[in-house]
Symmetry: C2
Subunit: 334 residues, 2 copies
């Protein structure tokens, strides 16, 4: 293998070619610095000729800010993906960038968080992953804010969290299903340790039992497609079969629709009602026409951005985003 | 807003607390450096007490390598998304990380590439976006390799590219459709400037005309869902209607299936054959059961990784990945 020689001209090289001091080169590249126009032009010409670029890493060391936001994501669910996509675009707009780490959703994120701290990121966003109290404390001490989206544990020092309105949204779903005439229910849960899944189940069940209806049959779909296929087969084979099934995510609801339709030949809506949670794009496709409680991605980004752009001195501890019911064909009985 | 004090203890602080030199602190944190075990332990204890972490940004300045790979992505198609997901996991495995920029697919990527160079990334990966010759030359001069995945222009100095086997794969689709008994065809193209779409159309059309069959009817679906809905309506309303339609991506083929099924009430396969290209997950869902030419994501990552991990002194100019036909219900006539 050939050894690489350094391809980066330095500020010193630029200063020599321009016939100015190194300090002048530095000032030329600092937007608000006071410097004679002629000098700045000389520096820019020399920099151009040499292919010199001011080193943002070096600057971030001096300023203590890297302009990078660390993002830790678990293997991607469609909803988290949509948030990531929109978030990346928003950061690029303001000249910041994502340093991305992936993490197995099942494990806590100590290793990636430790690594991100070494890169001196300005903030850390966790999407669908959990952080330990120890790491949260270390970030807090180093004044690196952590914002947990979706699967966060609450009330952890140094961690701000953003979630959908899990309890109220699931009540809305329960009310809608009852209004459509369904009377017995199933619930497809995410992993048992998921706070989001717990809250959605609690909101759904509380509304049913408050009306004297039985609590839903349940199965665990694990927030992924393979798990949802198994859970769907389990729920749909109970005797009697629940008249309507609420799934903790749209992704799992789509899998349930496929099992019901293609393995059991059931008419969606008429023979079994199906509802999801999140409002992913596929839910609106004519093929699925899935009723869901939708949390707009723009709204998530709208809350996330000011937290990350130094516009807020204090992070709110916990932000709950209100979504809305999208009533579609998957919960129509006639 | 409260002003932040520096939260980062320095190597100097650690050296003082441990009662050793600053050079010893540096050696303690360098894996292969020679240092007495007792000294290393003293340094680690002091570092722990202070919450000190060696600064990776500073190290990367010295080594000229940041451990970051720059990735520029356009608004995300499902296939690019799957590649990004797998790629991120692979980089994490070897202790590297993605610095992600998003870019409108329609524009060239001069701005993000310029920014990535300033962050001293070790390499740049373009997913579904184009680079200008000027930027490619600048990266080449700075010895930052660029690898273009999917929509790359060919033969640009300093840019290695990876694509699916567009021509051969589309011939395979044509052969399969003819074997299934279809005799008249449509093609749904991506943007006219897309090399991938051009090649898929050329391979498909060449095989048909070589057998004396008419060239396909065509419409432009722009590689996105909204465009594909329009193109599907156009293709399916021609008189006579093409017996089978090949779409340049699976994503567009799914949209065509929805238009055919839900707007025109056509039986997929029997009344209109549909084939795609890429092999995204949704193609295998029972609901769509889409015939496609599939390029395994693992294979893309398998080619991408050695290029980025310094295992190859010279990048191959152009890598073509062979996929395989997935024959499914969307092209079954009976």
């Amino acid at each position: 293998m050939t050894k690489r020689t350094s391809p980066h001209p330095t500020a010193h090289d630029v200063a020599r070619l321009a016939g100015v001091s190194q300090a002048a080169v530095s000032r030329a590249f600092t937007t608000k610095a006071s410097i004679a126009l002629a000098t700045r032009n000389k520096v820019f010409e020399a920099a151009n000729a040499l292919g010199y670029r001011p080193n943002l890493l070096a600057r971030s060391l001096i300023k203590g800010k890297s302009g990078m936001v660390g993002v830790v994501i678990s293997p991607l669910s469609p909803f988290c993906m949509a948030v990531l996509d929109a978030f990346s675009a928003r950061l690029s707009d303001v000249g910041k960038h994502m340093l991305v780490f992936t993490n197995d959703g099942a494990k806590a994120v100590d290793k990636p968080v430790e690594a991100l701290m070494k890169f001196r990121v300005d903030a850390i966003v966790l999407i669908g992953v959990r952080v330990t109290a120890k790491q949260a404390r270390q970030c807090h001490e180093a004044q690196v804010p952590i914002i947990a989206f979706s699967r966060s544990p609450r009330n952890m020092k140094g961690v701000a969290s953003i979630t959908s309105d899990n309890v109220a949204g699931s009540e809305v779903i329960a009310r809608h299903l009852i209004a459509q005439g369904y009377r017995t229910f199933g619930y497809m849960a995410g992993p048992e340790e998921s706070k989001a899944s717990q809250e959605r189940e609690a909101g759904f069940t509380a509304h049913l039992t408050s009306l004297g209806l039985p609590a839903p049959e349940r199965a665990v779909g694990q927030f992924h497609r393979a798990g949802a296929f198994e859970a769907a087969r389990s729920l749909l084979s109970r005797t009697p079969r629940p008249e309507a099934i609420f799934c903790a995510t749209d992704e799992m609801a789509l899998a349930l629709i496929e099992v019901a339709r293609h393995e059991l030949n059931l008419a969606i809506g008429r023979e079994v009602g199906v509802a999801g949670f999140d409002g992913i794009e596929e839910a609106a496709w004519p093929t699925f026409d899935l009723t869901t409680y939708s949390t707009p991605v723009e709204s998530v980004i709208g809350h996330l951005s000011p937290m990350l752009l130094d516009e807020q001195p204090e992070l709110p501890l916990h932000t709950v985003i209100t979504g809305k019911l999208e009533a579609r064909g998957s919960t129509r009985r006639d």
